[in-house]
Amino acid sequence: MNRVVITGAGTINALAHDVPGTLEAFREGRCGITDLVIRDKERLSIQIGGQVHHWDAEKHFNRQQIVLYDKFTQFTLLAAREAVTQSGLNFDGRLSYDAGVILGTAGGGVNTWDENYRAVYEEGKNRVHPFVVPKLMNNAAASHLSMEFNLKGPAFTVATACASSNHAMGQAFHMVRSGMTKAMLTGGSESMLCFGGIKAWEGLRVMSKDACRPFSLNRNGMVQGEGAAVFVFEDYEHARARGAVMLAEVVGFAMTSDASDIVMPSKQGAARAMAGALRDGRLNADEVGYINAHGTGTAANDKTECAAVADVFGHHADRLMISSTKSMHGHLIGGTGAVELLACIMALRDGVIAPTIGYEEPDPECALDVVPNVARNARVDVVLSNAFAFGGLNAVLALRRTA
């Protein structure tokens, strides 16, 4: 079993177009959720989101690329460039055969579906652009990353709704740990802030019209976000030999299925995933200083998640910190675990715990230290990142401080 470290990170999300800007927003407890700027917004009952503003695709891609890249692919490429640059890795030589890419997305090219359905149904056109399929397919981002960085090993996309990124990063972790590969680009991306993407979510009636307030008694639902985060997972010896900076060590991963309900979460399923990640990483529960919560801001998730944490950690649940950064960047659905891993790295590396903003009233059913509203300085050695998806699919990663 090889040790696995993170040697690069990149992102774009509602808070910033890079990692330093995102971490600064986490430290400041800044909210990236705004009024949406999208076509036909007036026909939506939900009009806010964690939208990426000031996005100028032409600054990053040429015209031929833009024709092929849905926004979720564009976001992924931008994040990957930042991550690979930071890692200092070069995949030109033999490493290319020992490197791959595993990404999470729930919807893939949702904007491309949306725009082209409009063209054929609403506008009555009988012809669409020849690249619609290669643009919208869920694996488009993974494939474009493999091409841009010359990654010739395993490459695929995982779709497990809101747990997609964590499942993807778990697979990348397993591949490096087992020795199957030396380095993996991994993380996830989502871009469904378009009329059809939001309309679908409205139907479930779990969305907030004003803010995402995880764990707060007056919370009234989730808020969608968009963006991507990509990491370089690398074999520890490989990274050490080349003197790479190690942002964190990935030490454990577990996934479980509730096998019970298509939308309602299960305490047991969530608890088994957290306990499994601890076991996999040979960690004691009391080593965990921080949990980046799934924390969607819905009634159902937050109380179930807190009850699961209490079950797994017992008395230690009252000593650890747990926060949801979805309050700041929104719920990136299939990309959310990736952006949230940045808060885990910040906790381990910088000793700063990202807050749960928008917190107004304690909920007796969420009586944990949720780091309300203001970031906190604290030295932590081990952190967990939770993701619990519709469909009852849970995926939890455990990370450890490297220095």
């Binding site: 009952s45 139907g203 479930l204 907030s208 309602m264």
Partner: protein
């Protein structure tokens, strides 16, 4: 009109509960009828479609909505209100 709203709402609820309409009573709660959270959201959607109205309902806090779902009678009353308030 009032009778019509009542009958149609009761039919929607009965269908969701997989019961005969006669088994849906005015004082029944959704819990009595075995309608869970997804069933409730589906019933509200069916009501909105049937009457062409928009029901103010957030599933995060079913008890704290303007739309009273505490019994079949309260749902009928709420729907009647929304139908009456509908622009002609």
């Amino acid at each position: 009109m009032a009778q019509d709203v009542k009958d149609r709402v009761m039919a929607i609820i009965a269908e969701q509960a997989v019961l005969d309409v006669e088994d849906v009573k005015l004082d029944s709660t959704l819990e009595d009828l075995g309608i869970d959270s997804l069933g409730l959201v589906e019933s509200i959607f069916a009501i909105e479609e049937a009457f062409d109205i928009s029901v103010p309902f957030n599933a995060n806090d079913p008890g704290d909505n303007d739309f009273d779902i505490s019994s079949v009678a309260s749902i009928i009353a709420a729907v009647e209100g929304l139908v009456a308030a509908k622009p002609a």
